[in-house]
Symmetry: C2
Subunit: 230 residues, 2 copies
DNA sequence: CGTAGGGTTGAGGTTAATCAAGTATGGTGG
DNA sequence: CCACCATACTTGATTAACCTCAACCCTACG
């Protein structure tokens, strides 16, 4: 059990630089939990007691509007941490989290982690870097919500996913969305209907083709030209 | 000169807990600069060399779209720091910054500051807290862009400003927007025309009255009910 | 075979961006 | 002191994006 936690920690950039003794301290304080499909990890406003490292499955981080609509801020995949930022805030979690599918998650107690920071400036700085990445991600999201239409945001997502799997984007490349379309719609700040139409339009224009969750790039050049800045 | 810098540092929550020697080190590495109206501090993508503490004036932090439209992410006022997050990233500044009016700014070199972090875990943690606040701010902005209409976002701003000056929001309270309306429009993710109409509508409905930059609360209850969550 | 969940499509309405023009104000130069 | 201009802001008409609601398709599955 503990060895699984330990092993998982080494896969995360946040912990990989830690010394043996720190890893041990964290490992013994952390626990591994399985969340069933649609089970909640925490709700917005809950007091922050821990942050998380995904081992398997998918965790969605989202906010609910007054009338029950949800906006997905982030989808955490295996080897990713989330809610690291929240442990330094005063208030509760700024968003809610729930398992999209059955997921294994390592729960790292806030206090244990913070006490490590006292003695390890390097860890603290790695943490700062980690949070800075979030910050950039957030500013990018704000920007795209403020300026780009749904179609462009979708293309941005497709291209970035393609970058993840291959190094660049070329015609004929093929990848799995890896995420329910309704979830992706919400992540892109829209609703399934509008998302679906945007996808249809890209297919009609022969920029890409879609078969279920599989996307094939047909016109990399045009796709890239849609999202390029200045 | 140095004494002004020192004094300004003590007013910022980020530095106020620092020891005498650290403050001295920062003070001697930092410089104070005056930026004229509309002068740029840095552009998006520029290599990050420093972060900033505003002494006087206003600095807007914004992103430009491909076709030249700008979206204001933040307006930094006296005693506030900005771009702290950027100094931990790998890439350049994620946004641009420019003086709205003639402004005095303390420039704190990235390297000097980071070297302090090595020896001072407390400072590092305060930094983490500071960035966590940004993170929350960002998630709130994303949420409101995704879900709320312009009018509601405007009311949210009015109420939060009112909270800044008074503790709560009551009929008859009066405050200065303290920011150009076009800038505020951009900050709210819209354009001056739409902003103006939203303000007009609130006046017509007798929720508030506006005289130039002066806003008077007329119906606090209704305003609050517009923004309350769940 | 019936139902549920994920996804798509269509019609219609609302919000907000665009385009165009107009008002108010303050400063500048004659 | 006034004409001129720039800037900030406002207003109106038009258009485009996208949300809502409703229906429908498809596949999996009990």
């Amino acid at each position: 059990m503990n060895s699984r936690i330990k092993q998982a920690m080494y896969t995360s950039p946040l912990f990989s630089g830690l010394g043996e003794s720190d890893i041990d301290k964290l490992t013994s304080a952390a626990s591994i939990r399985v969340y069933g499909k649609r089970e909640a990890l925490f709700m917005e406003g809950d007091p922050v007691e821990s942050f998380y490292l995904v081992v398997s499955g998918q965790i969605k981080v989202y906010k609910l509007s007054a009338d029950g609509k949800e906006h997905v801020l982030h989808l955490a995949l295996p080897n990713q941490t989330f809610a690291e930022g929240a442990i330094f805030g005063f208030a509760g979690y700024p968003a809610s989290a729930e398992a999209v599918e059955s997921s294994e998650v390592i729960v790292i107690p806030k206090e244990t982690f913070i006490s490590l920071l006292d003695d390890d400036p390097k860890l603290c700085q790695r943490m700062l870097k980690e949070i800075a990445i979030w910050l950039r991600r957030m500013t990018d999201i704000i920007f795209s919500l403020a300026f780009k239409d749904v179609e462009t945001r979708l293309v941005g997502y497709v291209v970035s996913q393609c970058h993840n799997e291959y190094q660049d984007v070329q015609n004929g490349m093929r990848f799995n969305l890896g995420i329910e379309k309704a979830l992706l719609a919400s992540y892109l700040g829209t609703i399934p209907e509008t998302f679906s139409r945007a996808l249809r339009k890209l297919q009609n224009n022969k920029l890409l083709s879609v078969d279920g969750p599989i996307v094939t790039i047909l016109d990399a050049e045009k796709l890239l030209s849609m999202i390029e800045k200045d």
